[in-house]
Amino acid sequence: MVFTSFEFIIFFLSLSIFYFSISIKYRWKLLLISSLFFYGLIKPIFILILLFISITIYLGSILFEKIHFEKYKFYSFIIILLITIAPLLFFKYFNSINQYILTFFERAPSKNILSNSWLILPIGISYYTFMAVGYITDVYNEKIKAEKNLFMVMLFISFFPLVMSGPIERAEKMFDQFRNKLFFDYKKVIYGFQMILWGMFLKLVLADNLSLFLNPIFENINYSSGKTILLAISLYPFQIYGDLGGYSLLAIGFSSILGVHVRINFKRPFFSTSMSNFWRRWHISLISWITDYIYTPITFFLRKNGLFGIILSLLLTFLIAGLWHDATLPFVIWGLIQGVVLSLEAITKSSRLKIFNKNSLNNNIFFKVCCSILVYFIFSFSLIFGGPFESLNECLFVIEKIFLNNESFSFSKIELLKLIILISLVLFLEFKQEYYPEKLKLFRNKNLLIRWISYLSIILFIVLLGVFSNDNFIYFQF
């Protein structure tokens, strides 16, 4: 049940009516029940994974507080950590590893001893596993206290707006909200509706129209010209942004209506002035999680090695990030590209800052936009490896084709024009927010008429240009 579907709207509508009509102290329980129901709809058996992880981290965190001997505490932390991530590793990498072993022995995957069909990845398992890991690490580090109510922990792990694709929230913020903030808050509800509107636009209009245009190109790279592929790759970041960014906004919006504030996940990433700046605006909740729970420990252990230690940590961190996306060679390369670019930035940072200060470029919008364009293209290039192509051969074939194939463009010009208008609209609104946040306010305008006209235009965009189903034409008779 995806957030944009009709079923979900009905589910959420009936839930919220019931939710706000019962006493505030029962609301978190209702959230827990509906979250388990929501996740169970994907496949009932997957509820067991949620329960398994919740119980593990619940017991583990209480255990950490009981043990006072540092060494034992550390060992128990490692064990609990491994048990927590075991389902993720199993579901995520079993197939890949299985395939590699089989190819190694030169056996066709079809003769697989273990059928792969039952091993579909439970949706969102990475996200709630990361939230679980964050929780036990914070308890272990004595940053927060262990939660004494198992059902609270379960709600934290299974909270339906976040369970499928984040944002990855932190326990310290969520428990307090589940306990004390689940009331009807006018401001939060309005904010929620605004986020849902913009999220629907990004997902149904921007991302889905782009995917209708880009997927056929990516699926037929043999028949697409180099220029067409280059154009498709250059537009691809907007598709991911619309998909993931839009979906995050929907998650944020729906939880906000229920009274739960969730952190923002994308902050105008296409206006980043450097790659490190980009990673503070793109998939923020994931990157901040990676920074806290992977990068920081690695740099801490390598801290005696100065700049070299930092660079090594960066490379390792992005290597892990790449492997998390998928245990394949292209994603390793994707991670390395990110690591190398960030390292270069780290090395040149102080000299760059000096030059910028000397020429007072820091407040020059034109210069900043140029930097953003550069960052954008570096990112899209890296997506050749971290995106639509499955094997390294395909990625290399694509690069070769981009540089060597001279055939002309081959796509519908009207479709492209439509996409460019949509992208320009998004960029214009974000440009305004980035550099002139106090001008031309739309959703936050004091004037009710302007607010309503803005809402209405977005709604019309969604209804008239949105893609609601792949099955676009249904002929039926009266």
């Binding site: 490190s276 920081t296 801490f300 801290r303 100065g306 230690g309 930092i310 800052l353």
Partner: protein, 79 residues
């Protein structure tokens, strides 16, 4: 060592690491207040502090740092 002398010594370390002679820090200073203080320079800073004060931090202690005041307190418990 008094809190003030720790702060003085820290200021010098900050100026060296962030390459800025004019940095002034107090107990309330956070990473947001200093231009170049991000996850990349943070560990360089930490390792320099360990060197200068001849102490060793635990990862756990670093996770709970909120501002320079916290840092001074932790350093004080170690020297």
């Amino acid at each position: 060592m008094t809190k003030n002398s720790v702060l003085v010594k820290l200021t010098n370390i900050f100026r060296e690491i962030f390459n800025d002679r004019e940095i002034v820090i107090n107990n309330k200073t956070t990473a947001q207040d200093i231009d170049n203080w991000d996850s990349l320079t943070h560990m360089l800073l930490i390792s320099k502090i360990e060197e200068e004060f001849e102490i060793k931090f635990k990862l756990k202690e670093l996770n709970n740092l909120n501002n320079v005041g916290n840092l001074v307190e932790i350093i004080n418990t170690k020297i």
